[in-house]
Symmetry: C2
Subunit: 377 residues, 2 copies
């Protein structure tokens, strides 16, 4: 909770639910990352928070941009960013969207499969391409499943094919999983990438770039290591595995830049029990899984909560749920939160570190509820 956000909430008294983002926090996180990892070029993962205010801020600070779709590229170009500072980082792209991006000047593309490489050769000839390696993502609170990346032997073959197709086999990428809390996961991934760099060098392909992906955490319920410890672990692994022949490095932070910048101001709609014998209370907020808190799916992201006005007196366990008529719209049931026994409808609850993956995830009008409104201060 920053002073700027406090002042805004006190003076504007916006209707709940709403997200308030302090842009200074994002700028501070950007500077810290640049400071502790100066060799890595920052490509902000637009999907984490695609608001024009955030893109404009980071564009002004010199960030490059990792984009997932044509509309995201449009948003970044609209902020005056040169296409050379844009990576089309989604490994799943329509041919026509690749062609569109290429025509706008984008020359850096991700892929992880032969079919995607064929599309790139057709619609983005001569571009720089990087292949995403499959990782296991142990220790990540929002793990990446097997959806993205391919095994190293396939990546190797595809890089050879990329050269044959007239593309520039430019580098490798990986992603250790979002909100990754185990620093050793970077060592594992960087080691695997370095081995492939050497393999391909023996084939005459000198890869230029290693894309470290995202994964750096925001601060939710559990404490996380500060960015300097992550930066230290990454640079240690880089020098361990690449020696003094370091490739160009790229990071794609999303959550770690914007997560802690936002406060979601909500109101308690109802506090109830299911029977007279139940100790457990159900607390229904005016925002839920379909109103922006999609990352509570399977209770993956455990946000910190703060009661406005303190909430003195004894506390007890609660199930936290959203306001829709959907039974799946429950935030936390297994990970029991404690709230004051005096909690009542109308009380305000602030959900901290909600600057990432909230506004854009909100349903367009499920149950008639409008998407989450956001203010940038």
């Amino acid at each position: 909770m920053t002073d700027k956000i406090s002042r805004f909430l006190a003076s504007a008294q916006p209707e709940t639910p709403c997200l308030v983002v302090d842009l200074d926090v994002i700028a501070g996180n950007y500077h810290a990352l640049r400071h502790y990892l100066p060799l890595a070029e920052v490509f902000y993962a637009v999907k984490a928070n695609p608001a024009p205010e955030v893109i404009a801020l980071l564009a002004g600070l010199g960030s490059s941009f990792d984009t997932a779709s044509r509309p995201e590229i449009e948003a970044v170009l609209a902020a005056g960013v040169a296409p050379g500072r844009i990576s089309f980082g989604n490994t799943i792209k329509k041919l026509k969207d690749i062609a569109w991006a290429y025509e706008r000047g984008v020359r850096l593309f991700a892929f992880d499969s032969e079919a995607e490489l064929d599309k790139l050769a057709e619609a983005a000839p001569g571009s720089k391409v990087f292949c995403r390696l499959l990782m296991t993502c142990e220790g990540a609170e929002w793990p990446l499943s097997r959806k993205f990346g391919c095994e190293a032997d396939m990546a190797r073959a595809l890089m050879l094919k990329a050269r044959a197709l007239g593309l520039v086999p430019y580098g490798l990428s990986f992603h250790v999983g979002s909100q990754q809390t185990r620093l050793d996961q970077w060592d594992l991934a960087i080691g695997r990438a370095a081995a492939l760099f050497r393999d391909l060098a023996a084939e005459g392909i000198a890869l230029a770039m290693l894309n470290l992906g995202g994964g750096l955490p925001a601060r939710y319920r559990d404490d996380v290591a500060p960015v300097e410890r992550y930066a230290g672990a990454i640079m240690q692994a880089m020098t361990d595995h690449f020696g003094n022949d370091l490739p160009q490095m790229i990071t794609e932070p999303g959550r770690s830049l914007v997560g802690d910048s936002g406060i979601l101001e909500t109101e308690v709609v109802l506090v109830s029990r299911k029977s007279f014998a139940d100790d457990e209370r159900w607390v229904y907020l005016d925002v839920g899984k379909f109103g922006g808190l999609a990352e509570t799916m399977d209770e993956a992201i455990k946000y910190r909560l703060q009661l406005v006005g303190g909430g003195e007196g004894p506390s007890g366990p609660v199930v936290l749920a959203g306001p829709t008529c959907d039974s799946a719209d429950i935030l936390y049931e297994k990970h029991q939160y404690q709230m004051p026994l005096s909690l009542k409808p109308g009380d305000r609850v602030r959900i901290l570190s909600t600057g990432a993956y909230t506004t854009s995830y909100a349903a367009v009008n499920f149950n008639g509820f409008a998407p989450l409104k956001a203010y940038f201060v």
Copy 2:
């Protein structure tokens, strides 16, 4: 797949992904429900598909409406529906929204807790209120957890309190779970409700109405019993438990009216493997969990798929996923679908029975993708 939808797709050639809804199917489902369950007044659950076209159609057919929020009530009133045909069925309502609905003439409200009853007494004096009973929902493909409803002893006490507060203790409701496939669940629920009717009659409260909720299925991957079998099971249970003193009956169909009316036309964006050794292919469509298919969460709803152009030749197992950079955007991994080995980017895949819980669930712009577009024919 209806002729009208076929003709529309052939002539309009809309961009994918898009939903095409045949309004005649909805009208047919409405008439069938009225025919087989003539004693029950239909309150269409607007949340299933809140499109103005659907509301206008059902309003014209004489349906009443179950609403979840102020914007849903506004949409129904905008269609010219009298407020007496509207139920504010969400048990989680803000005081100011209750007051707003009351001012507009809504006089029928759901609740399941003491705090909600207090709000109703304050903001909707003299209204008819019905209490939702907690059910276990065994056999439902989209079960309702414990989020809604209270135990019978609490419902009893709250109905007594409703009278004391000057409200009209009007009836009871339950919901057996969405896409409920076990007909005996209605018998269980109706039996429990009938017992409470008798209990309250002994206290001088003559409840007038039983709200049977929703739960009737649409047809996804597995066959479901036709509506007449559900209607038969419900009427059997009603006469078993209430004898010839039947209360006014209400149903709140959503999925069963609109689910089968829609076809989601999608395009294959990518087909890939994770390694040369993998038999399993990953098929990425241009719509996923955040683009309208939220009900694939935990693979709960298993849609039927249809390949455009047939897709001859041998098939093999696939993992189906959406187009976003989110690892959770996987549709089916455990429930393995089979698709032709010849499948390639650009092929069209139709997802059947997607008329319910799709458009309104779509994220507002996650990964930059626009919400699901819908056409009504």
